[in-house]
Symmetry: D2
Subunit: 461 residues, 4 copies
């Protein structure tokens, strides 16, 4: 038996490859699917089945892409009507070599959500592992806010039942393979464990210790953000994303080409570090550091205007192309050849924003200089660890819609938890014409470590 977890960093998404005796299945394949084909060849296995645990909302599923290349059949839960694949029902079984894969309908996160329990008949009739999808994570459970506020209680109850009636009874010794790891937007408090066991979760997952009513109350009160691109993902995943054959080719672009695009509408995605962005950038750029693309691009980038990347040394751009491919951004056109230095070497007009250390902010605040202090963190983070006294709060993802709340005629100091989203927020304000914007390097984390005062810390929890 071969089990491989294939992670998509940033999304914190897990695909799985499971094979036995010359056959293999893939669970929730990512869109850049060569990795599965290579595993199949490495182990002389033929991929025969692809299971989607649910219609994912945070990335483009790679089922059609993979099926086009290996001929496997696609399966998903029957409660949503898909334009492709085959619907399965609770109890359906599929043989893969010596393994038996049994479908568990587990609605809650979505209606058509399924888990897949796997038994190795060569060893025992007991289940060995379960692919728990977005129903049960290490340390958390799936979010239940996709069906409107009015349905949250009902849907959360469904999830409770799915977990307690379908998954937990499989047994303490069953390995649990979830669809997401720590950092996913599909769960709030996912633990940093690649996989877990039913027994460990029963003993340690706080959500599993609640009774049904408590669980529902907790889930109804939970706060999640919903990036605008989720809608596009749901549409693509239900009706079938285009099959591309390969990750988009990154074309190097000269400055002249980039300026032509700028004249006609372009999304300049600056993937450099906050210090580099502050030191100089192409006017109008959006600053999202490379690892933050999966979580934040979906708030700011549209699906039709060409996207051009700007880096410092043009390293690791292929990975960034993968990030965007997984989110369906097939409008990635290329990158500025030579990186941002090519821009300043050409003497082109360069924007600069401020980058302050926490020491500098503290000193400025002590002088009572006029400034508008803007916290762009996740509201949960603000509530959990507190904030810099005097700061207003607008989540980075909501800034385009709520920028009117930020005064244009004052110096704006943006901060987040570490300094990356602060740079993102600063770039959004600069694009909107704010003349004087500063990002706080290190953000709230550095502020606290340096021993400066904190307001509003949530002492509960």
């Amino acid at each position: 038996m071969i089990l491989r977890q294939i992670t998509s960093p940033g999304l914190a998404h897990n695909s799985y490859f499971l094979g036995s005796q010359g056959m293999a299945i893939v669970i929730d394949p990512r869109r850049d699917c060569e990795v599965f084909l290579e595993l199949a060849r490495e182990h002389d296995m033929r991929i025969t089945h692809i299971f989607e645990t649910h219609r994912n909302e945070d990335y483009v599923i790679g089922s059609l892409e993979l099926a086009a290349r290996c001929g496997a059949a696609i399966f998903h839960g029957k409660a949503t009507e898909f334009a492709y694949g085959t619907a399965v029902s609770d109890g359906d079984e599929f043989a893969v070599g010596s393994l038996r894969c049994r479908v568990l309908e587990t609605p809650g996160h979505t209606m058509e959500h399924i888990a897949v329990a796997v038994t190795d008949t060569e060893v025992s009739a007991l289940p060995f592992l379960v692919f728990s999808g977005d129903a049960l994570f290490a340390g958390d459970v799936g979010r239940t806010d996709f069906f409107g506020q009015e349905n949250r209680a009902r849907v959360s109850g469904m999830l409770y039942d799915s977990i307690h009636e379908k998954i937990l009874p499989l047994g303490d010794g069953v390995i649990m393979c979830p669809a997401h790891g720590a950092g996913s937007v599909c769960g709030a408090e996912i633990a940093d464990h690649q996989f877990s066991t039913i027994g460990y979760e029963k003993a340690t997952n706080p959500l599993l210790k609640m009774d049904r009513q408590h669980f529902i109350g907790y889930k109804v009160a939970e706060h999640h953000y919903m990036p605008p691109y989720f809608g596009e993902m749901e549409r693509l995943n239900q009706f079938g994303p285009p099959v591309k054959g390969h990750v988009p080719d990154l074309v190097p672009m000269e400055i002249g080409q980039v300026k032509n695009l700028m004249a006609n509408g372009v999304q300049i995605l600056d993937i450099r570090a906050p210090t580099s962005f502050a030191g100089g950038h192409i006017p109008g750029s959006i600053s999202i550091w490379r690892e933050g693309i999966s979580a934040y691009a979906g708030y700011f980038l549209d699906y039709h205007t060409p996207i051009v990347l700007v880096a410092d040394f043009d390293l690791g751009l292929g990975q960034v192309a993968e990030f965007l491919f997984r989110m369906g951004y097939d409008n990635l056109e290329g990158y500025l050849a030579g990186g941002f230095p090519a821009w300043f070497k050409a003497g082109e007009r360069t924007a600069q924003s401020g980058a302050w250390t926490v020491q500098k902010l503290s000193s400025v605040l002590s002088e009572n200089r006029d400034l508008f202090l803007l916290d762009v963190r996740d509201i949960n983070n603000r509530e959990d660890v507190g904030y810099i006294p005097g700061s207003a709060h607008i989540y980075a993802g909501e800034l385009p819609d709520r920028a009117c709340e930020v005064p244009k005629d004052r110096l704006v100091v943006v901060y987040c938890d570490a300094g990356y989203k602060g740079s993102l927020g600063a770039s959004i304000l600069s694009r909107l014409g704010y003349p004087s914007v500063v990002n706080l390097l290190g953000g709230m984390g550095a502020w606290i470590k340096a021993g400066y005062p904190v307001a509003g810390k949530n002492t509960g929890k």
Copy 2:
């Protein structure tokens, strides 16, 4: 300036990537074209032009494949009408950074053949290198037998003029980058030099020392084989091959699947060594060792019946898929998972052929045992180095058509120069129902090294 030679082993074909100041051109791109895109990214260059020196007949050109991924424009000579790209004329110039690429119409090998002379304006107005296509090779010139016996003299004269009037005058210090290296079927005696110079060729290439009449006489008398797949290549390259996006995925197949295919028509391509093929193989297989595929598959494989590979350890199959992709065999279906050992481990019916050492053959011959000794080498090779006394000759590529000349009721010992094409020939005879076929390990080379008698050695030349 960046110059890279990208070789396609087996075909002994050269593509070239040439870049300067952010721009690049590609000459005669191979079909698996990621290598050019990677070079472009590595050097922050945009591929803007693709030149085809001629409508190639021995492989599928990758121009459309590459253009689809980088937007470059395609150019070829105007004497043939292509269904894609743009026709160029003698003297046309293209700027690539500081380089100037000038088209030289150089008919002979084909009518629309062009060479491309390159000048670096940053250094001098003199040409620095020339892409000589199939007009001029290191140590040889292109073949001139594609237009029928009646046109060979005329066409050979055209080639003579192209070389002497267009290429050689560029100057002795000009680097010559040919489209083929040693081993190509597009030349008979290509030297084992990746590239050369005009000066070195003028001094050492025997074809360049002949006067026009002598040259034409030599070329008219020259013998070349014409694999049947050449026609398919010409058709594809003129009308545009299908754009695939990636080399076909190699699907592992279980024995049951292979047997199903066998029942419905399949081409089993056994890529193992001659010893392994002799020791056991799937009945009906064609034996072509991996490096021999580019040169020999085109004689035996058709373009519609599924192809299945059989190896020993399933190593390096991706390269074999590339070989077949470059020849347009998009009907490659997969490979026998587990290699040939999976077949014998399943107890399936296994064919075996003989493998004799030269010592054994010599001993058998000395006993006057009845056998039919068949030489399947290139006729040029037979004439140059001689043959084993008493052997008949049929070129391996012609064996399907001329097998009737081989007696079915006698033991047939096949030999070539080294033992690979002998295995191929033995496999063809076995497929045709010859009950008793043996391959000579080491072939003529080993026979000579072991000191056995040789007949018919061409003492001239």
Copy 3:
């Protein structure tokens, strides 16, 4: 938390990399240790601790090699005196980021054997996983025959106690990471699961269902082979193997060099498939297919005579070098350039052995032709699935010592389970001067699948 299982194919050995918050530990590192350094860089983690679960006997441990490159400290159990590293005791704890690693002394397989239980303090005080070394495997337990027949009962009891008192009490939901997977010589019946859980093992592992007395009886009766190289491994691992810095470089050798070595003593290791070996080989070669090297080379190769590899196409030789490096064969000199075909192309004297299909053997047996039928399988396999009527049995590994039991003046047909070890056995006999040796392609497996009669099948189990 990052957990990675690094497998050494052939040995079926598992190393583990476990990291948290910038620190990492490695369990039982393999000798080619770059993989751990790359993981450390990929995750920005510093390797601080190396744990050896025990003094391994089947491969060279990579602790010193790894420590030399990253400065980590080495730890092992205190019951054996090592020439390097630090001894640890039951209950010792080590912090690695948020993780706590607790030592469990678990003697039985060896005296100094330890397991390491890991708790993630960020989640819970309960253990999350255990590195069970060679104490507990998926579906099996470690062998207990290293201390002589007279100590087997006592040692087996120690293992029973280690498992039942130290490992199983950790809890059903604890993930179990063993040092070996299916195919290892360190266990007899290891299941084909990369890892397992305490709960799953308790429910399914037959050894865990026995009471102490039954367990001891079973272990005392168990049969294991002991390859002669085990002694060298134990010595190296106790006193510290030489630090090499890299896997030995594979030097291509011309025929002349190989023949020179042959004159002075060399071990020719022929890694080709059984069909290829039968079709022709260098006289005196030992035939071990690539995947079989880890399990079988230790019976036949010494540590001082130069080793030269012979393949067909020189593919994947680096992996073979890794196999040998892991077993301490630092006397690997190189490989025959061009593979075996270079040999026959040179007209060199070539040995050939027979390769029969099961159909052929059946037919020959029905004719009552004289032959000696030799079964070289593991005795357990012979007893479990039966044998071909009339066959004698000598395990392949014991053949050098017991060849005198095989008649030299009769045709010897060697068979195993699949045809690989049969080729190995045939090569050993040929080296010893047996003039007429045949290997059965497919071995017992093919014989049974083809429906031929079987003797002595153990109907119990």
Copy 4:
């Protein structure tokens, strides 16, 4: 014949691998020598000879490293006494397959300098290519300033004779393979051609058109910088550098470790872009962008104090380790895990320097604000393209020694040609305690492109 040019970026150094018929030689191997071993295996060739064209002064030669791994013999010119290898003399010949390699003693750049002319006996008795070392480059010749001002005329004459009497007579059609490409500090005006021909150089290289007297005058007047590390290289290359076995392992370091090193002496090498360095850096860092390390590290880094790298995203650090390994910096300890963001996230004290656009500088200058404008370019560049009016000049490499010429109490604006060396210069001044330092983004290039006034442009040449 296989010819491969292996470049070491940054150094613009070329090694060569040349093989024929199972044998190969390497010319001027770089220290990370796996690439040669891989080429040897790829082509089934044994490396038998290593030639050093001279005792290199700009990098550590890899001859001993390579010889230790493949057993090849090392050869160099006899005019310098080396502690290893064998001395060769003019006319010595070495056979490599069908090739003949003839030594040409070509003193001038150094006394023991040799070139190697290669003939392919299979084709002709005429030379095919020449490895010209540091005697003759594309578009330039080697520098002749290593033996003191008093010897320059004599040495330059020797070089003239070497070129005109030994190399040029080989013939116009001979391919010339030099030891350096464009960007090397071993020549001033090397053209951007990977290789050239004798004929092309004779026609286009301005140095080859001068008569002996003119040539000597030109070379005597030529200005070159001499980085301090050259002495260390000469010593190592003469007496034999330590054999390491692999490029130093890059160890990720936590902030605490880095601060410990800082307390005891450390060289923090900040390899980020100028914008990022300006936005924030560890106090005391030296700013050298990644591609600039080979050319500039040798001015600032010593060989005993530990070196720690700081990047933004920890990408491509392995290549930086190679750069330093090639320069003998075996004191590379590791890198700051998490890059510079880890520093500011920890709230550590962060230094910032200014980064101005050319527009900003122009505007400030027009306001007559007080500042010290410092040009740190190569003096040749200043003289060729002119400078910003009012600027002083100190070459970046000389800044440590001549900083006293820069006022500490004024704002210092540093500029170079593009903005990288300006960041380097700014970092050196900051380390020396200059409180107010700014780097000009884009430097002189951007200044000119933006149309601002230029002083002192050399109108000649």
